[in-house]
Symmetry: C2
Subunit: 205 residues, 2 copies
């Protein structure tokens, strides 16, 4: 049954979860689809419809218990556990990701970071010793890492992606500004600031 | 008429443009909706349908001229010009953005960078002198900047966003892991690696 839920609905759940966790940190206990909708610029009806695909999380008129709904969404998204993540590329973006403290509360933990530049292999970043990219397969084979982030130049990204897939990675967040081709069982999300900016300039005068 | 085109279609155009520009750099001259579709994991029919909303860009059987279609998409997305961009936040992400050389070919140019930390205001990053965040309004009033990127901690993002909007910014790329509330005429895109990762863990075993 989870298979039948559209990607676009799954894509909104992390946004709901993030808003609920912020409300929780503000000390709030109860919210409503109206309030969530106003915070997120999504209609209350859409939020109710999305959540109803997974069960009954609130009572008509009393709203949602923030802690309970957060836990349910974490379970649905499988971030009620911690996923180890490998980073490939220790340039500016890779370093920023290795240093970023925001992953821990969201279900992720950086486990290792690779680079192909002999000048920085062996040096430290974010508490990790940068490993040689030639060891990706071997290092990942000895781990349970299924999730990776690619932060290498565009020209190297497809080769790195292919290596990661061969090493058992099943989810890739790609910061290189190029589309990755992977087998259908592997999930890829792309982050490219130019793409996001171009989506907005269309609307500017 | 452009108003009637769904956001989701607009959102795919930059992806088509990026793929076409890569093909152009590979020295290619002609492509097809089939080939583009295979590269991007989007159906050829979808690509033809999306493009047909803007005119007739290819002839049945002869495919698309890559340079011509790229130029048309640049015009539609308004990146046939260069947009000045302000960055707020000179931490790891802000610095990576200030140093990133990939914006220039895509229609953007970093114009200035701000931070609120007196210890780094006045220092250099990516060829820019970091300006004091208290001067955002004043500096932007003397410029034609309409596009900004926010790379400050979550707790400061809404205040920065509000300041930017008051200073005339109309498009914001927000790297802070929090939803921004802005007036309806302002466009916001969010980049949050945890959100992107959570969209994929749902599908993992």
């Amino acid at each position: 049954m989870p298979k039948a839920i559209p990607d676009i609905v799954i894509g909104r759940l992390p946004i709901y979860l993030r808003a609920l966790q912020h409300m929780g940190m503000e000390g709030r206990q109860v919210t409503s689809s109206q309030e969530l909708g106003e915070r997120l610029g999504i209609s209350a009806a859409q939020i109710r419809k999305d959540l109803s695909q997974f069960g009954e999380f609130g009572k008509q008129g009393t709203g949602y218990n923030i802690e309970y709904l957060s836990k349910q969404l974490q379970e649905i998204l499988k971030v009620d556990r911690v996923w180890d993540v490998a980073i490939v590329g220790a340039g500016d973006i890779g370093k920023a990701l290795a240093n970023y403290s925001g992953f821990n509360q969201r279900g992720f933990r950086i486990a290792m970071i690779f680079d192909s530049d002999p000048a920085i292999v062996g040096t430290q970043v974010g508490g990790f010793t940068i490993k040689d990219s030639r060891l990706i397969k071997e290092e990942l084979a000895n781990s349970h890492v299924q999730v990776a982030m690619i932060a290498v130049p565009a020209g190297q990204a497809q080769a790195v992606g292919t290596q990661l897939v061969e090493a058992g990675i099943r989810a890739i967040l790609n910061y290189a500004p190029v589309n990755l081709t992977v087998p259908p069982e592997v999930h890829v999300q792309h982050i490219d600031p130019s793409i996001h900016l171009q989506r907005m300039t269309y609307y500017l005068a």
